[in-house]
């Protein structure tokens, strides 16, 4: 089983977002960066599939700044075999440019599975996985919460509004992982030590101009200061009145 997992270094979900001096990007001062949480599910799934197959190779591929080597080391510490960093100062705003760079790297790999997280929790683009699949001409199932593989075929479940889609597909395939697919392991000390010696190749990423021009990064619209209606169940009738007459939502 030959598996590629595409991962991303992102600002931690507890980050308080401050806009940088260019007015178009995050002020990274003091921000903690982590392996994108959805990518953890992808890495974990790769490890389980390799363990179940009893043999294979897992490569993790990241596109990002030099510091993304640490993110790759996290995945290697979980148990992946080798890493590739497509180094770029900035991840393109246009997801298709990221997808093209990843697809070029993945193209000749002979992968059985190419895994992604369903989206990155920073740019919320949720598009790179299925775009890579289209560029490589591979079948793709996104946002999977359950996966079964048997030989060269698989069945996945993905959440849709009010239900679950049961989807069949052949291998090789591109899959993007949702929360619930598995419970990612924490890297053990032994894994962390081993990760330091695992191969990590760094290449320069190249991009086209892309089709997304960032005009501005803005704070979310401020919410008007709310008010405490009252205490306990006695406040409920007044709340109902406000919801009907002031907010007009009932």
């Amino acid at each position: 089983m030959k598996i590629a997992v595409c991962i991303k270094r992102v600002a931690d979900s507890e980050t308080r977002v401050k806009i940088g001096p260019d007015g178009k990007s995050l002020d990274e001062a003091g921000v903690k960066f982590v392996l994108n949480p959805y990518d953890e599910f992808a890495v974990e799934e790769a490890l389980r599939r390799k363990e179940a197959a009893g043999a294979g190779e897992i490569a993790v591929i990241a596109l990002g700044p030099a510091a993304a080597q640490e993110t790759i080391r996290t995945a290697l510490a979980m148990g992946a075999d080798r890493g590739v960093l497509l180094q770029a100062d900035r991840v393109p705003a246009d997801g298709l440019e990221t997808a093209k760079a990843l697809a070029a790297e993945l193209k000749a790999g002979g992968w059985d599975l190419i895994l992604f997280g369903k989206m990155a929790i920073d740019d919320y683009n949720h598009q790179v996985g299925p775009m890579v699949a289209e560029l490589l001409g591979l079948p793709c199932v996104t946002s999977i919460g359950h996966l079964e593989l048997a030989g060269r075929k698989g069945v996945a479940e993905r959440e849709v509004e009010g239900g679950l889609e049961v989807v069949e597909f052949p291998l090789p395939v591109v899959l993007t992982a949702d929360k619930g697919l598995n419970e990612p392991r924490y890297p053990a000390l032994k894994g962390i030590m081993a990760a330091k010696k695992k191969p990590l190749e760094v290449k320069a990423a190249t991009f086209g101009p892309g089709g997304v021009e960032v005009l501005a990064m803005l704070p979310p619209p401020a919410r008007q200061e709310g008010r405490i209606v009252g205490e306990g169940a006695a406040a409920v009738p007044e709340l109902i009145r406000l919801l009907r007459e002031e907010a007009k939502v009932l």
Binding site: R16, V155, E165
Partner: protein
Amino acid sequence: MSNVLAVLEQRDGTLRKVSHEVVTGARRLADGLGGTVEALVLGAGAVRGTDALGSFGADTVVTATNPAFARYAPEGFTQAVAERAKASGFGAVVFAASATGKDLAPRVAATLGVALAADATDVAVEGGKVVVTRPIYAGKALLKVKLTTQPAVVSLRPNVFTPVERPKAGAAQAVSVDAPAGRVTVKEIKAAEAGALDVAEAPIVISGGRGLKEPANFKLLEELARAFGGKAAVGASRAVVDAGWRPHADQVGQTGKTVSPSLYIAVGISGAIQHLAGMRTSKTIVAINKDKDAPIFKVADYGIVGDLFEIVPKLAEEIRKLHG
């Protein structure tokens, strides 16, 4: 001048409500671009609800039929939408950022070789180009971007583009389209509990957190949801999802769903930053919490301090009276 293609969704032969929002967003872009809106729906046969699309701003409605289109067929849909988009030279293609749209829009954009702005909460036309505002960092910031490739491909966050009815009928046509058999096939849709609404699409969301003390107590929120007569869904904080009390599908927050209902009721949720990120664009927020200093009260429009086990049943009772 260029026209806009609105890609709609159906399930079991009935148009999904989010489609009205897609036509509404597409109309806004078409007005800015000085063009018309073509609504495209893919199905196995005629789709119920398409006759009303003119009143939401569609100039023409095309139903593209193929026996394989009863359910979502990723490869067939991609080809059908991309070919339609190419053949008629649209200036923009608009999807819903729904489960299907999140899957389909990137495939279509990649096939066309153009950029996709996903999960838009605002769209406009400036200097002849499509400009999209979209939440990033789960809504802790907004990114305003200009799409410079054509067609501009955009997906719209559900519940944000309020449909505006206008007194105008659209011309309808039905075409049958060829589609590849597709390697990926949706075998079935396991329906959730009858009538269960998805938190991302429900007009009212009632979410619970640790304050509910144990999983069984979520029945209080389910009763409150029922009191709203099928318009409300029950959500959950990350803490209770991670504890296994509620399924991930219900999680609201940065690693769950971002929701924008007209009414969001947070019950026993303190309001961690990653939760606030997922619900701060709700139109009206109500918080019920025993701790008057809980951060949730900072974003809530209305708060009640006190014991949720007394407040929630009383609230359900009062709502039932209204809907009585």
